[in-house]
Point group: C2
Chain length 263, copies 2
Amino acid sequence: MIIVKIGGGEGINLEGIIEDLSKVQEKFIIVHGANALRDKLAEALGQTKQVITSVKGYSSVYSDDKMIDLMMMSYAGIRNKRIVELCHKHGINAVGLSGLDGKAVQGVRNKGIRVYQDGKQKIVRDFSGKPESVNKALLDLLLEHGYVPVLTVPIVDEENNAINTENDDVVRVLQHSVRAGTVINLIEAPGFLVDKDDESTLIQKMSPLELESREQQVEGRMKRKMLAVRKLFEAGATRVIIADGRPEHPVADALSGKGTVIA
Amino acid sequence: MIIVKIGGGEGINLEGIIEDLSKVQEKFIIVHGANALRDKLAEALGQTKQVITSVKGYSSVYSDDKMIDLMMMSYAGIRNKRIVELCHKHGINAVGLSGLDGKAVQGVRNKGIRVYQDGKQKIVRDFSGKPESVNKALLDLLLEHGYVPVLTVPIVDEENNAINTENDDVVRVLQHSVRAGTVINLIEAPGFLVDKDDESTLIQKMSPLELESREQQVEGRMKRKMLAVRKLFEAGATRVIIADGRPEHPVADALSGKGTVIA
């Protein structure tokens, strides 16, 4: 089994990824993002991100109903269905699922953030949270009958609300459940770069034991990504490949050793 | 088996419909629209409907890539996932599927329309067509394992493109395949009205033999709807209920004999 995480960046070559996957013999599950599409759509709709600041000074994006609608449009709507369409064009019988569908991905909603409002302290609770488990029975049912699940956010919380979450966390709970031999993480970079602006600093091979120190070498998105990879190994991963989602053959390249292989 | 077609009008009481369905003992499949939502979203995005006129003078909406994206956002995105969310809140384990997912609804793309362009005749082909069949194996697989399929457009064509189609046609091919004992069609009216502006002209009972003459009594949307109902009987329907989707208990009302019962 392979889990293929497709990043939501604008430069990701979806066509190439799906073409490659049509030649893969192993079973696989796709998890995808759509952040560039979501941001573009939010802009077109004049829907600005609401940021809230906690009493301790931490800022976070506020996922209100409108934000969940936006996720449903971009992740579960356009991106999910266009990937499913591409799959069919390459002979892959895909079924697109948000975490809501058949409770494919179940999570727990965040408890709320303490903020100041009109001079008073108040708890503000949005529709975001963390995934806890996947509906393995449903995924197995589909896989056993020749369907390829294509998963994305939103997911469902303990009170059956649609909630926003990180796709990296979805991949982690999925890995914990299906124990894939390989997780491929397709991003808009050649792999793990010590200096994000210098492709010659690509690390081609890494031991899971190095992950914590490598995490300290980098900043921003890559730091979060390395933390997510570390958690993936805690969830039972044996091989994670961080690879470039932009070239002609992203998956074939990744499986032939390009990118950063962590094993 | 019951097929529940939920119209895409703004006044439809989704919450009431799903609450009612949670008390229904029979198995059911939901097919839903989202036309009001689609139009609202198109307006917000400044995306105007493109209408093309054939050389013979017939006008139709042109379903380009952008229109399909819009269908994915509104039908397969927001509306489908919000209905699935509502289902879970009422204990119904729903799985939302566009016609693309697992090729749930397969169709044939329209061949194109002959138009004048820059003084020359030209064939213009959009992404629209007619459904031909459903993937009954997939629907049965889900139903047998306790999941309720929630179907919507777009569907998949013979070359694996996402295409637009009428949900009434989807209901017809679905009925042809699953042979539901009852089809409930929830709309923004109390049922079949001889005079659409006078609710006292509601016809409560109708024989399928009357359908053709009743179709001649009305205009516009209702005329098309009656044609769709007639085709439903050709597809093996034995009872079709056209009922109001707006009151507190649309499905309970329909099953207790309110609306127009055609049998």
